[in-house]
């Protein structure tokens, strides 16, 4: 499979290049992501046990308490924040968290086009997906 590039809406500007971690279900932050380790602690969540740190974190939309914005801020201060966030449709908790933590945030894309482990590059309103198999073959 070849790389594919998508036009996305930029909510918080910034560039990123890293490995995707994808959830097909919405993600809250308060009480769900541990701000000291970056690990998803909600036992019923499909990302349970995985760390968001240093990943391009992809999920449909945010949910839960608006205090979750502060959890994102603490992740950033602890060096455990995602590199960037990609939503299908974002909402204020994630947008606010990205704004105060200086984490690039884009939305309005079909996130089923990204799989965990794919390399994702984000620059100037364009999101490029390099599927995992291609990345490995080229290395």
């Amino acid at each position: 499979m070849m790389e594919r590039t998508f036009e996305v809406r930029v909510i918080k500007a910034g560039d990123a290049d890293g490995e995707a971690l994808v959830s097909s279900e919405p993600l809250g932050f308060l009480g769900v992501v541990d701000p000291d380790s970056g690990i998803v602690t909600e036992t019923t969540h499909q990302l349970h046990g995985q760390s968001v740190a240093g990943k391009v974190l992809v999920f449909p939309t945010g949910k839960g308490s608006t205090v979750g914005s502060y959890t994102i801020y603490r992740l950033k201060k602890n060096g455990m924040a995602p590199l960037a966030i990609v939503n299908a449709e974002s909402e204020p908790i994630i947008a606010t968290g990205a704004a105060i933590s200086d984490i690039p945030l884009v939305d309005q894309m079909d996130i089923s086009q990204i799989k965990s482990g794919d390399r994702v590059r984000l620059s100037a309103g364009l999101l490029t997906v390099y599927p995992q198999a291609v990345t490995e073959a080229s290395e």
């Binding site: 909510i11 918080k12 308060l30 701000p35 308490s65 608006t66 205090v67 914005s69 502060y70 959890t71 801020y73 603490r74 201060k77 974002s90 204020p92 908790i93 947008a95 606010t96 968290g97 990205a98 704004a99 105060i100």
Partner: protein, 408 residues
């Protein structure tokens, strides 16, 4: 989105890092919602105050922001903290010293930002009562509903961080409920059932919220003028169970009066409610006769009128259960000055000043079952605190406190 020269300067950091960060939140949200520009607000109401909810992450953010020297430039009130503000050590919440320390550090950070620490979920009861047409940035879903609906002011359902950012910038982005076109009713609710008390209004609110989610109802068919407190309970139920931020009542709420028939949109749908049982069922309430640990009134915070009503209903009788009432510190002080507090405490009732049991650690109190008079209180005691719950009128709650037994 258009920004004035001053707003651009704020965003660029010319008024400090904290102001730039706050302006970053406001413009990010404005861009996301396609706002044309920013509007000045007359007040802010900030949620995200309880240490139980904020934890170390929120505390750290607020202290960092306060350290930048950022100050609120409009009048701002705060949601309840997780401790009794007048006497945390004597409170039946059994607050631990370490927890109180965290909570008061949070409050200190707000004070440092020029927010004067009026803590209540009913700011309109004390000294933050907006006028019709005022633009606001309020968090706390029940207060948002009251401001939009009963008062005809204009606010979106803000999150805590966004409301704080609006307090610091004095602005919010022009979208959502700030615009005329988003304020008309798109659902007409025909109330074809008796709603004699707050708990039945609450059950009605639950039914409407389950059906409408976040749309805007116009209620028709009430047999009487609803009081401030009744608007509060109905709105709180719809805001907690769904996310309804605005409702109209035919001939009663200010925009319904001003617009007449124009208050409902041409494409509005219709719903007739003629039975309230589903509202109680939807809250997970199982009818039965059972002992109750705690009768808890004041979600949202009780008004002075409600305290008088409870004192009259108790009529000097001693309660067997724990009986806690949450209210704004101003209301507690008014009740203390007028002897109402003494009538209540003499019966074994505790007034929790500014506090909220929903956002307080409850495990240490040993409470497992709660009777309350509002859908909002029942909903969160069940979903957030894992309590067994009962919902009934204020009179029924008082009788339960006296007998110790809930009877269905």
């Amino acid at each position: 989105m258009y920004l004035s020269d001053e707003e651009q300067a704020m965003l660029a950091g010319e008024q400090g890092v904290g102001v730039a960060q706050a302006m970053g939140i406001i413009t990010t949200l404005g861009n996301m919602y396609g706002a044309a520009d920013l509007i000045p607000i007359s007040s802010a109401h900030i949620s995200g105050v309880s240490y139980k909810n904020l934890g170390e992450a929120g505390l750290e953010y607020l202290e960092d922001l306060a350290a930048t020297g950022a100050k609120a430039r409009v009048f701002a009130t705060l949601n309840p903290p997780a401790v009794d503000m007048d006497d945390w050590q004597g409170s039946p919440l059994l607050t631990t010293p370490a927890f109180a320390k965290g909570q008061f550090r949070i409050l200190d950070a707000f004070y440092k930002m020029g927010i004067d620490g009026i803590c209540t979920c009913t700011p309109y009861e004390v000294n933050n009562r907006p006028a019709m047409g005022d633009h606001l940035s309020w968090a706390e879903s029940s207060a948002v509903s009251f401001a939009n609906s009963r008062l005809g002011a204009r606010t979106n359902r803000e999150g805590g961080p966004a409301a704080l950012a609006a307090a610091i910038t004095g602005r919010t982005a022009r979208y959502g409920y700030h615009l005329d076109e988003n304020r008309r009713a798109d659902y007409v609710i025909n109330v074809n059932v008796a709603v004699p008390d707050g708990s039945s209004l609450s059950a009605l609110g639950v039914i409407v919220a389950k059906k409408l989610l976040n749309r805007t109802p116009l209620f028709v068919g009430f047999d009487r003028e609803l009081s401030d407190d009744e608007h509060k309970l109905l709105g709180a139920a719809m805001a907690a169970v769904g996310s309804i931020a605005l409702f109209h009542v035919e001939g009663q709420t200010p925009e319904a009066i001003a617009l007449g028939r124009e208050i409902s949109a041409p494409h509005a749908e219709y719903l007739t409610v003629d039975d309230l049982a589903e509202g109680y069922r939807a809250l997970g309430i199982v009818p039965g006769t059972t002992p109750v640990d705690l009768v808890n009134i004041g979600c949202p915070h009780s008004s002075y009128a409600e305290l008088v009503e409870i004192a009259d209903l108790l009529a000097g009788r001693q309660v067997r259960t724990k009986f806690w009432i949450m209210c704004a510190p101003h209301v507690v002080h008014q009740a203390q000055a007028n002897g109402v507090a003494e009538r209540l405490t003499g019966c074994g009732v505790a007034l929790l000043s500014g506090a909220c049991t929903i956002v307080s650690p409850m495990a240490q109190t040993g409470v497992r079952s709660v009777a309350t008079n509002t859908a909002k209180g029942a909903f969160y005691h069940s979903s957030y605190n894992g309590m067994e719950i009962h919902l009934g009128s204020t009179a029924k709650c008082v009788e339960t406190a006296v007998s110790g037994i809930w009877q269905d």
